[in-house]
Symmetry: none
Subunit: 197 residues, 4 copies
Amino acid sequence: MSTTTTTETKGQRTRERMVHSAAALFRRKGYDGTGLNEILERSGAPRGSLYFHFPGGKEELAVAALTEAGFGIGSGMESLLSSAKSPSEGIARVIDFLADELERSDYRGGCPIAAVTLDGAAESKAVRDACASVFDRWLELMEARLAEGGWTAPAARRRALITLAAFEGGLTVARAKRDSAPLRALADELRGLAPER
Amino acid sequence: MSTTTTTETKGQRTRERMVHSAAALFRRKGYDGTGLNEILERSGAPRGSLYFHFPGGKEELAVAALTEAGFGIGSGMESLLSSAKSPSEGIARVIDFLADELERSDYRGGCPIAAVTLDGAAESKAVRDACASVFDRWLELMEARLAEGGWTAPAARRRALITLAAFEGGLTVARAKRDSAPLRALADELRGLAPER
Amino acid sequence: MSTTTTTETKGQRTRERMVHSAAALFRRKGYDGTGLNEILERSGAPRGSLYFHFPGGKEELAVAALTEAGFGIGSGMESLLSSAKSPSEGIARVIDFLADELERSDYRGGCPIAAVTLDGAAESKAVRDACASVFDRWLELMEARLAEGGWTAPAARRRALITLAAFEGGLTVARAKRDSAPLRALADELRGLAPER
Amino acid sequence: MSTTTTTETKGQRTRERMVHSAAALFRRKGYDGTGLNEILERSGAPRGSLYFHFPGGKEELAVAALTEAGFGIGSGMESLLSSAKSPSEGIARVIDFLADELERSDYRGGCPIAAVTLDGAAESKAVRDACASVFDRWLELMEARLAEGGWTAPAARRRALITLAAFEGGLTVARAKRDSAPLRALADELRGLAPER
DNA sequence: ACGTCCGGGACGGCCCGTTAGT
DNA sequence: ACTAACGGGCCGTCCCGGACGT
């Protein structure tokens, strides 16, 4: 009997470290603001390894990093959502969690997807598509929880969308002001808003 | 009595062209994604002029570009807001206008403030402050219009904030998907939401 | 009695493909201009195989490629020389053949030996020696045919040398101009030159 | 009263040093074998200066280096040619001079034009054209001297061509063998060859 | 014997934002 | 107000080694 989780070759671990480093740096400075050297240094990998694991270079690495970061954040979202007593409450908690993280990182850690979407990397279709997929997945997660809580499909869809937009925008505003209050106000606002049918 | 507008020296016009070019490029690719050469080329100004007008270099130019772009967008917002029959309708029109612009630019022209806030430039206090000021000004504009329409101050504040967050986030999502529908859905949603007292 | 030709293991065929690919690329771009990846891709061989067959790496591969290419070209030369009615005529035909090849390759396929001799690879004694040997062999071939046609040894030696120099130089000039005329003019000239005793 | 020659700005001198360094290195190792770092180090210029003087990068620098080297060598050729009592003697002296230089440089300094023509740089039309122009100029120089010595135009043209080819090829062969004898033999041979009308 | 995976780091050419000099 | 010069940083590719698998 083998353990399901930890059977990872050394190469896979290197690759993972590069992906994580990239994601972490993209959160802070976007794609254009992040140098390969920085990613490499942080992950302790030599330059040649990057091009072994990602022959497509920085762009391919970004796609992997964004996708994986999207899943990670999505999982957190999912558990916050499902542990709350109502969907609205769950949504508020997600936003509060994001606000906590922003504070903890001294207002540096926003959303990697947004950061990359808004910079030069968006010229790349592959990168843009990876971002769009992540956004879609997050929307689905929220819609599902809302539907579970009794919302009609159209109402759930609208609420999911406004939630996503609100927290992406809220993260941006909060970061500029170095103050999480706007983000937390958004959490409250969304908590209070009744479903419109 | 002096004419306020047209008395501009050649130097001022050069400066203005640089500022506009920078703003336009920041919208598309953020601060880190935009090279000085690109800005210079677009504005037709020689290299040395930049450091004459902006001794602080790229950073100082960015502050000017962001501030000015913020004013420009703010003015548009203001007239859209004041020409609508109700504040909610005005807000919806602002978002629709943003969606139109996004489409016209083939999903390249988002919000320069957001783009710069989310990339490496946010490490600069001067840049961050310029962004925060712009956001504040936009919030004030919306609050004022809402108050004028009979909203209480706290409700107006909340609605302004959620509006700002929604359109910044909506612009991001719409750009990633290359589809303005989410943004327009947000406009509708905000139009429909009753004031919560 | 064993077949001399077709008893080749898979490994030998791989090796051969690498050698041929290298030679072909050296003709076009010299040693420094040709990357290992390019050679590998063209020969369909995996990276690790190179160091199995050529522990000395690129340099050792080059020696093999140059030597083999030298033999191949030498054989062609030999048959052209021996099928002509006179040595001078044979020499002219060799040059014409080279000109044909240059045209067929769109002025890319010159002499691999010359290309490698003139670039950084010449710092390597092994490579230089391989080149020198090839040149010597070609000279011998021509001298032998000249002697056979009744030329005295010194005259044959001189004519072989000027022929080799003329076609190497002619190939270079023709390549730069993308015009085989100079090379063909050289063929004519050499055909016309009387033996000087 | 100002000296006509030495009025050179610092920028021009920097540029010149880069051009000379590039030419010197191309002689030894060709275009692909020569790194920009090497050129820069040798000329003592910083990296950025290169792209100021040669916005087109390495390729543009190569064109300049080749053109200038071509003129330099051409001038030497011209004076050797004109100071000899006969054209044939002049030609022999040119080749002898080349042989001297080859020896002096320990068989590293060949013809930069040939080296570049035979490596990957020949893919660039600009580079190839620069090489072709230099060859043409050299041919004209020799033709003119020959005509001056009483040769008919067609004979002069043929002799010029075979001379150019011979010394380019001879330089190659001599370099591979690290022996200037073949080159000197060529000088003798060409001295002895009678004009064919 | 033959080949793969992965690591390793130096170096490739290009372009960055900035400053001196005038 | 602008030309000229400055270095250091960008990302990508180079050739090569060792560990491992067949």
